[in-house]
């Protein structure tokens, strides 16, 4: 028989909030939270009051007014009579364009440089070390301005292409013109175009592009099925059928057929009047910003890749060699998959950095969202608070989206542990 004694019932007293260690931390947190909220409330009311005193109540109506200014690089239709909101959207697309291009190039360069820095070739590894140190230790703004200055000062202006005896000429059979206003390349055109599909009535997306993407995706999926079947045959019989030409045909064939069906041809740029007309115009501002951001971020990514590879124990390499794997396959099948789990998390923050650094675009006159909404629109309408708040919201949304995608990818590649 056991005797159970109830613990003495303690009634709750107010003093216990401070003197009882069970409640103290809660009390402190509650007080801090209240203090923080009061502070926030005071700040907001202060801002609202000051703006009211200035006679500038907060409002977002200005976004519906005509912007009145032109933007040189626009991925969707835009004229100076369009609204400020649309101008902001044009800027947003420009931001996303340079961010995506930048992340892609930075990743490719970063991986190559990171691997090369581990090379046993002394000169190669030293050169890569110099690259990394030079790029990551100089502010990115200087690199952007530097690239722009180089492009403007060293390349010929369109005037140099003119006349009977021009000092500059177009490259690659007269298809590409490199000038100090940008690079002009041929553009894809379709004689039997399917037209545009309107999204929300706000902007059009080329149906040709969508069809091509769909065909490409289908081709990739079919090629993947062939590979899976080849794997199955190899598992069953030990013989791997030769499938590379089937897969290549499945990917390239349908795309080619679609291109011919749509009447694909290239539109070349020509010197007409002051400038080259036609073709795709990659402006200097985009090129300078893209290169500077990519090369700068690539230096950081190279270090991340190097650290990731070094984090995989050397025993793994030796074990792979012992199994008879070639150095290439060792890197691809053993080392890199394990290095990924070290590489991905810091890589996310590099992508975020690149995207946020793209707001330095105005230094070279690239019209990103900071240049349109946070620049000209803010300046012409005088709506500083609203514009900056919107701008912060946009960057927050972009950053969180990148984070979400990369975290999803990280979860897929991370080591599965028991």
């Amino acid at each position: 028989m056991t005797i159970v004694t109830d613990p003495p019932k303690e009634s709750f007293r107010l003093g216990m909030l401070i003197y009882d260690s069970r409640y103290r931390s809660l009390t402190i947190q509650a007080v801090a939270l209240i203090g923080f909220m009061l502070l926030a409330a005071w700040l907001i009311s202060n801002a609202a009051q000051n703006l009211a005193a200035l006679g500038k109540p907060i409002g977002f109506d200005y976004l519906a007014d005509p912007a009145g200014y032109d933007i040189n690089q626009r991925l969707i239709e835009y004229t100076s009579r369009s609204t400020h909101l649309r101008a902001a959207f044009v800027g947003l697309l420009n931001t996303l364009l340079v961010a995506v291009l930048g992340c892609a190039l930075a990743t490719v360069l970063g991986v190559i440089i990171g691997v090369l820095r581990l090379s046993r070739n002394w000169i190669v590894s030293r050169l890569m070390a110099i690259y990394v140190e030079a790029f990551r230790n100089v502010p990115v703004l200087l690199w952007i301005v530097f690239f722009m200055a180089v492009l403007i000062e060293t390349l010929p202006s369109p005037r140099a292409f003119r006349g009977d005896d021009p000092t500059a000429s177009m490259l690659l059979n007269d298809t590409v013109a490199i000038t100090n206003r940008g690079v002009y390349i041929p553009e894809p055109l379709f004689t039997r175009s399917l037209g545009d599909i309107s999204v929300f009535g706000a902007f059009g997306i080329s149906i040709d592009l969508l069809v091509l993407l769909a065909v490409l995706a289908a081709g990739l999926w079919a090629a993947h099925r062939v590979a899976v079947r080849a794997d199955a045959i190899q598992e069953a019989t030990g013989d791997r059928p030769t499938t590379w030409w089937q897969r290549l045909l499945l990917i390239v064939g349908p795309v080619l057929v679609t291109l011919i069906a749509l009447g694909f041809h290239l539109g070349y740029s020509e010197l007409k009047g002051f400038n080259f007309q036609g073709g795709i115009h990659l402006r200097n501002s985009l090129i300078a910003l893209w290169l500077a951001l990519s090369l700068y971020t690539a230096a950081f990514i190279a270090e991340i890749v190097r650290s990731g590879i070094l984090a995989v124990s050397h025993g793994q390499t030796e074990a792979a060699y012992a199994l008879g794997l070639s150095p290439n396959r060792t890197m691809n099948l053993v080392i890199l998959p394990q290095a990924m789990r070290v590489i991905i998390p810091p890589l996310i923050s590099q992508y975020l950095n690149l995207t946020k650094n793209s707001s330095l675009a105005i230094a070279v006159g690239y019209m990103d969202i900071t240049g349109t909404l946070g620049g000209i629109t803010m300046n012409q309408t005088g709506r500083e608070l609203e514009s900056v708040l919107l701008l912060m919201l946009v960057y927050l949304a972009i950053s969180l989206s990148i984070s979400a995608v990369m975290n999803w990818y990280n979860n897929r590649v991370k080591l599965v542990e028991r």
Partner: protein, 341 residues
């Protein structure tokens, strides 16, 4: 949690410091501080640029110095704050500067919506186009397809869009932050045309290696009355800046120059308006919250409006601007100071 609170506090302190400005009279602030914070351009030769000794010189700078002399009795008591087309209004609205004298166009929305007060016009300007002579262009209407360098955040950006749209011609804008960068791109041929106020174009051209190789096209596509401005709502301070500018303009009309202002202010003369302005009669200075000699000091710094014009941007300077619209009304121009009465 703790981190959030600490961080929040820092942010809050930063914001509070920013929000604390405004209120109180600017005139008193300037007197207490002993220094006038004057916003100028980042460097437009003839209008506002530092000379070899780092001293700010120019047509707009002279207005700042005149106000400093009138209020603080010291034309050197000015803190010049260089502002770009983008930063100038925020700098003025936030109280970082007391007045802005930076070739800024007086427009309805800036006056009414942005909550500033333009105290007058010190230069009547218009937007023009600068283009190399070798291009053989004689009219702005021939600029179809041209690449145009433009300072971003200015009224010229809007005028340009309107001009090309109305004339139904295409162009490629290259937005640029400062005058210096625009000149660099223009010289390198990264743009065909540089557009800004005609006075600014003349100033830029004067700094080129071969000014004669560039022409300003005949079309003036806008009205650009440039003048100093202050925050809306502080009328006492606005009056001080407005009447200092008017004193400079009236002095030219009345024949008061830097050479004779000391004599004229010594004792009352025949012309009662000069007497009232220079403080030998009446109490205009007191009404402004200044002493009787305010206008005398303002004029003594660099002379009257005409002298300032000739010294900084007149026909005998590298800028070489004619008086044109900026002559006195008595000589067919638009410069017209209200009476000192």
């Amino acid at each position: 949690m703790k981190k959030t609170v600490v961080f929040g506090t820092f942010v809050a302190m930063g914001l509070a410091a920013g929000a604390g400005a405004a209120a109180a009279g600017t005139l008193d602030d300037v007197k207490t501080r002993g220094k006038l914070n004057c916003g100028v351009a980042t460097g437009v030769p003839g209008f506002a640029s530092p000379d070899a000794n780092g001293e700010w010189q120019g047509f707009d700078v002279a207005v700042c110095r005149a106000v400093a002399a009138a209020v603080l009795n010291d034309p050197a008591a000015v803190e010049f704050v260089p502002t770009t087309g983008k930063t100038r209004f925020t700098a003025l609205a936030s109280g970082e500067i007391d007045m802005l004298a930076r070739n800024t166009t007086w427009t309805f929305s800036r006056d009414v919506d942005l909550k500033f007060d333009f105290v007058g016009v010190n230069y009547y300007d218009g937007q023009g186009f600068l283009i190399p002579k070798e291009m053989g262009v004689t009219s702005a209407r021939d600029l179809n397809g041209a690449t145009v360098c433009i300072q971003t955040g200015t009224t010229t950006e809007l005028n340009l869009a309107d001009f090309f749209r109305i004339n139904n011609i295409e162009y490629e804008p290259v937005p640029i932050e400062t005058n210096a960068e625009a000149q660099q791109q223009y010289i390198a041929g990264a743009c065909d045309v540089y557009t800004t106020d005609a006075s600014g174009l003349a100033a830029s051209r004067a700094t080129f290696e071969d000014p004669a190789a560039h022409v300003v096209l005949p079309e003036i596509i806008s009205k650009e009355p440039l003048g100093p401005l202050v925050r809306h709502g502080d009328n006492e301070w606005g009056d001080v800046v407005r009447w200092t500018l008017n004193a400079l303009i009236a002095a030219e009309e009345l024949g008061v120059t830097s050479a004779n202002v000391a004599d004229m202010a010594a004792e009352a003369g025949n012309n009662p308006e000069i007497n009232r302005m220079l403080g030998t009669e009446g109490n205009l200075g007191e009404m402004l919250g200044l002493d009787a000699d305010w206008a005398k000091r303002a004029i003594a710094v660099a002379g009257n409006y005409g002298e300032i014009f000739e010294k900084n941007i007149g026909e005998n300077t590298p800028i070489g601007l004619a008086r044109g619209l900026n002559a006195q009304w008595t000589e067919g121009g638009l410069m017209y100071a209200p009476p000192f009465r």
